[in-house]
């Protein structure tokens, strides 16, 4: 017996995949060549599962700003923001984020995960209520666990269910904080934010939107779903990440709350962690400038996303409810999903295999994410590979019935 033996049950599902030659947890890229291509097993592979929405990871200006900062300010800060970890680059990025969102305050965290952990565990406490969408990201659930507030789940994207639960709390003291995501990471669906904002107003709750997958993707200027839905004034806190559209690592929170800076002296996942290296701050800041200066990136991104979504839907695959830069295909079961995923990879297309318990409704998903940097040719090649594997596995017959013998 080992101390980890308690988790052995989780290995069974994984071993079942391994028995089919499917090993999604050990994909190691020999080299990554561009935002859309990597070398896997010595072969050029299209990357269609990297959340690299604007394709800025290889932008030459972002790289050169990172290089300059690393050479000029060193490889790391070796300290937390509240000790020696506040460099000019951290402050300037915070100022740029506040300016971009038109908010008074911005705070940078060392990861997006820690941004959610820190903000959710601090804004509400004992006697308060945290209202979470049932399909929330793990970092939101973990943040709710770290804090002391009562956590209540409402049905995914269901403002009526949220309203009902807030109404049940009428007369109960304490603050309520509603947490939703701009784009949900598994199926690519957006929150019904207009309706949720109305619930928030009627019930006197606070509203936080995690724009991790929607920053640089949605909204006229790329600020995310709150901008696209026209309800920015109702959103009290926006949380986001640098590790998707901004091509680096880290997280942030912006707000107009006048006492926002209190977070800097009470928020443990902010206070007790080293701040990000100068090079990461510099490339992130430059990527934010590109996001603002080049709206064409969002146009290309949505063109690519819609082309992939429409193509997969037309072939008869079961896709999510709306075309967004996350497009997921629902598979009948985990083994089929695993084999499909492996055949795509061996055909030169990398996407994500998403299986229970990390998925909504325990679905087995082939999850893709699209980049502005994909060429139309790459999207079409991806569609061809999907069609080819789909045919081989019996998905694309006229009755779209899966050939039972295909496995």
């Amino acid at each position: 017996m080992t101390i980890l033996a308690k988790h052995a049950g989780y290995r069974q599902a994984y071993d079942a995949l391994l028995a089919h030659g499917v090993d999604p947890l050990n994909v190691r890229f020999d080299s990554v060549l561009s935002p859309t291509e990597g070398l896997w097993n010595g072969r050029r592979t299209i990357l269609l599962g990297t959340n690299n929405y604007l394709g800025l990871t290889f932008d030459s200006d972002c790289i050169e700003r990172a290089v300059e900062a690393t050479r000029g300010q060193g490889t790391g800060t070796t300290g937390s923001r509240v000790a020696n970890g506040t460099y000019d680059g951290h402050k300037r990025l915070e100022e740029a984020l506040a300016d971009f969102y038109g908010r008074e305050h911005a705070m940078v965290f060392s990861t997006g995960y820690q941004a959610n952990l820190g903000v959710l565990s601090t804004l509400v406490g004992r006697g308060d209520h945290l209202m979470l969408d049932a399909d929330s990201h793990a970092s939101i659930y973990d943040g709710s666990r770290l804090g002391m507030a009562e956590v209540i789940r409402f049905r995914h994207n269901n403002p009526d269910d949220l309203y009902k639960r807030l109404r049940r709390l009428e007369g109960v003291p304490g603050d309520r904080l509603i947490v939703v995501e701009g784009i949900y990471s598994m199926l690519g669906d957006t929150a019904p934010l207009k309706e949720i904002a109305a619930v928030k107003r009627e019930t006197g709750a606070y509203l936080l939107v995690d724009e991790a997958h929607s920053l640089g993707v949605l909204g006229r200027t790329g600020r995310g779903l709150a901008e696209a839905a026209g309800v920015e004034a109702d959103v009290d806190f926006i949380v986001g990440t640098f590790s998707k559209s901004l091509g680096s690592v880290g997280g942030f929170c912006v707000s107009d709350s006048p006492d926002f800076d209190l977070l800097r002296i009470v928020c443990r996942p902010y206070m007790f962690t080293a701040s990000l290296p100068p090079g990461v701050m510099a490339s992130t800041h430059e990527a934010l400038k590109k996001l603002r200066a080049e709206p064409a990136l969002r146009v290309n991104l949505m063109r690519n996303a819609t082309r992939l979504y429409d193509g997969l839907t037309a072939m008869g695959f079961q896709t999510g409810p709306e075309p967004n830069p996350i497009v997921a295909v629902t598979m009948p079961d985990q083994t089929t999903a695993g084999v499909f995923w492996k055949m795509l990879l061996e055909s030169g297309l990398y996407i994500n295999l998403a299986v229970p318990p990390a998925t909504p409704a325990n679905a087995s998903l082939l999850r893709t994410s699209i980049s502005a940097a994909h060429t139309i040719q790459q999207i079409d090649t991806a569609l061809d590979i999907f069609a080819d594997v789909g045919r081989k596995l019996g998905f694309l017959q006229s009755d779209r019935r899966r050939a039972a013998g295909a496995l």
């Binding site: 049932a134 956590v151 789940r153 229970p356 325990n362």
Partner: protein
Amino acid sequence: MRDDIAAIFEQVLGRPVAISDDTDIVEDLGMDSLGVMNFVMAIEDFYDLSIPLDRVAQIQTVADLIRAVEELKSGTAA
């Protein structure tokens, strides 16, 4: 209350179940975490209340569930 809960189990699981106070919701009824969540939401609807997540985590048997619902209904939950 036990009859109502049994009816809700049947509705969520799609099959008749026999339950007692000692029935372990996960082990005896073979529910996975999604099943538990759907079941909890159905219970919440039926009794018009919300069971906070940390309370859900403490519920193992039918008796635990009945106690949680009773406490939440009477407003005496810890």
